[in-house]
Symmetry: C2
Subunit: 228 residues, 2 copies
């Protein structure tokens, strides 16, 4: 039985935490990140640093071409919202939504898993803080897992079935931070901001920064990150 | 109700036929092809020619990075089998299998569909001639359709549900060819060979050429393609 796992590593707080969780369960980690034209490229350099720091077996950064299609604040010029309260954040699909993003990310993870003959994929989705994203919901993950069981050689040949691990699904940001700290995650290496300045410093006012800061506050911890 | 459709266009015989079927149903077609490091690049230039010839609204060729993972005869140096009989072709997963290929292709099609606010995707999968590929089976397509309904903004907002059209699913190659000819498809523009020569001529002996040639023969038609 392979103890390999694919971990989707964005370079953010959540994905660094799931990497630590996978390692704590004795998986050898194959990490995968995506360059999809995001404005906050600093995230990818942090993903590289985290992958090295946490001693993964391999780390691939996959170039995906979503810019050809457009329609997303993360990849084009729509203004990233700031200072929104929790109700505003969760009441609608965020403008930072990227079409079919987690479907594409998980598809690549599935291909990678198949090549590495590994049946475990970790993804840091969360149904509490990201309730606005359709592809972060438990029913989406369950549907992908079902698809994966039908999609691969292994599924035809009756060997290992793909399991999608979502250890953060029902945790609050504060719980995620506490869990990560207990596993020794260095959150100074993680990047969360949708709208960093030129040298990569976090803005402190976009949805993602606000969720992060509130999470540290509720956890009774200090965010080690520098803000503008 | 949008009459837009996304068509997955490989440049092969099957995908040219589904493009013609989508047009015959009065869809405005947005075609998408994938450069995944296939050895038979001529397929992509044929996709471009077919897209122009059949007057699609847009055609995107998406670069996908499966070479990073390896493990496929279409993308690396494993020898493509030749002269296999039908039993040999269908009794095992073909060595030309690409990991999670249709999962990735459909994920991009889903993103494209979302951007174009379109709920119809056409894919030329076939359960008869390609029974060796897990991701060509009806249960795989049904699972993807279910996933798509959970994955997108439209699914959350209660608007159009994604429909994956697989008009070729239960047709023999001969039936596909007859259907395409009745719709005016010019099969001279299509490419099927896994192992073309330097100037793009089909080999006539790989699985894909043999299926194609037998299909024309059974349809009582002459393949307009030139072979080595």
């Amino acid at each position: 039985m392979s103890k390999n796992a694919i971990v989707l590593l964005s370079g953010g707080l959540d994905s660094a935490t799931i990497l630590a969780i996978a390692k704590s369960k004795n998986y050898d980690v194959f990490a995968i990140s995506f360059d999809y034209g995001q404005r906050h490229k600093v995230e990818l350099s942090q993903a590289k640093t985290i992958a090295q720091h946490m001693a993964v077996v391999e780390h691939h950064i996959i170039n995906i071409d979503l810019r050809q299609f457009g329609d997303s604040a993360l990849t084009d010029s729509i203004e990233v919202p700031s200072h929104r309260n929790e109700e505003e954040m969760s009441s609608c699909i965020p403008v930072t939504y990227v079409p079919a993003r987690n479907t594409i990310f998980l598809s690549y993870a599935l291909a990678y898993a198949e090549v590495k003959q590994c049946s475990n994929i970790f993804i840091g989705v969360n149904a509490i803080d990201y309730s606005g994203y359709p592809d972060c919901r438990p029913e989406f993950i369950a549907a992908f897992e079902k698809l994966a069981k039908l999609a691969t050689k292994a599924s035809v040949e009756g060997s290992d079935k793909i399991k999608i691990h979502t250890p953060l699904m029902h945790m609050t940001k504060a719980e995620i931070i506490k869990k990560g700290l207990s596993l020794g995650v260095n959150y100074e290496l993680t990047h969360s901001c949708y709208s960093p300045n030129k040298i990569g410093l976090a803005c402190g006012i976009c949805d993602s920064c606000l969720l992060r800061l509130k999470g540290f506050e509720k956890a009774g911890e200090k965010d080690p990150l520098k803000y503008v």
